[in-house]
Symmetry: C2
Subunit: 234 residues, 2 copies
Amino acid sequence: MRPEHPNLAASLQKTGLFSNLTPSELQLLAARTVRKLFSAGELLFSEGEPCTGLHIVSRGKVRIFKTSISGREQVLAVEGPGSSVAELPVFDGGPYPASVVAVEDSEIAFISRRDFHAYCMEHPDVALKVLAVVGARLRRLVGIIEELSFTTIRQRLVATLVKIAQAQGQQTPQGIEFRLPDSHQEIANQLGTVRELISRNLMRLQAEGLIEVDARRILVKDMTGLSALLEASS
Amino acid sequence: MRPEHPNLAASLQKTGLFSNLTPSELQLLAARTVRKLFSAGELLFSEGEPCTGLHIVSRGKVRIFKTSISGREQVLAVEGPGSSVAELPVFDGGPYPASVVAVEDSEIAFISRRDFHAYCMEHPDVALKVLAVVGARLRRLVGIIEELSFTTIRQRLVATLVKIAQAQGQQTPQGIEFRLPDSHQEIANQLGTVRELISRNLMRLQAEGLIEVDARRILVKDMTGLSALLEASS
DNA sequence: GTAGCAGCGCGACTTTAGTCACTGCGTGGT
DNA sequence: ACCACGCAGTGACTAAAGTCGCGCTGCTAC
């Protein structure tokens, strides 16, 4: 949690928000930011707390989520280096709408609401950049709403399997193989459901001959058939 | 769809986005806007279309929604005079994430993407205002996600009944009375479900003695009991 | 009028989601 | 070696959501 850092200006530049600022402008901004370190599992802030400023992930990974009274969790986003978090409340002043926790040990650059506000007034293009970032977030939220209200858990699961397969699947003679990046519990949180349903639906896909499950290894035997399940409704 | 209008500057001011501009600045902005008229039921634009600019409702009411292939609808927001619509894609350039339709005959002030962009660069405070508006929208979307993934339709329905009762209910000897503002179908769309479930759940609440239903007239006989259903989970 | 039509009620049913309780497996710690 | 613990599979069940089909009403247009 040191106030300055030699690489801070450089890492700010990588965020995309500040990519077209001059080095001296970056220095000025860097001088106003504070680094914070969080270890895996530590909360950056909780839903409902008053919002104090903008957080930018410079290293690590964080998860934005909501929790229900009954203990269920709905993940809204997982952000890696270069992404900002909680851009919004910075400007409307309200409380945080969701909680954020560090998934890995993370380093966060923090800029106070006031400072960032002032900075935007001097650099309107930064404000527009923020707007673009927020636009992307809004788009993702609308996507989540669409999924939640139009699709079954089965379809959501298939969609994430297909996504992972495309991103990091290995082609093998029997099909495309990959490892699930998260526990069933975590996948359930992202899809807005419970652990058991992930387990059951994976087994069901296996029974249908579309995939083969071995612990966290997944072998997609019939990619076409799998993808076809996505077209069905929505 | 006349390009200018004597009251345009005044109506822009009412939006909140431009409330602290000088009259001459407003005139400048007004000169760049176009009025469009839409009759009830007419589409302003559809999901997926490229986004051309910012829309501001100056009269009437519009509904922002997503549609599924199977014909289901999920309402994201209903906006009245003074609200802007589709603020976001203006800045990230992507396609509209949802469709917007006029619920009543409406008058829309339209500012092209390019013009508004330029305007924001000259008036950073306007950009910040837009950010605040977008913040509010983001908050509402998160609220919808929370409802969809944590609550039952019954609870969502009760929540809207309570909301309407508080907003426009009449106190009577037997309880609080009001009229449903929309058809069951429309309520279903807003809650992300189908008509029958609205019907059934209303009947169920009646059977439980909490409310009395007579066509669109609702009499809340036990407001305490009704509200209590909201605490249960979430 | 009456024909058409949107809105609503409702029964009967299927599917999906969620809950509970329990078993089993591997890994890391002491 | 053994225990604890996180994670995964599973059976049995309940409840919620959604589907289909039909019948009823009340309104409006011709």
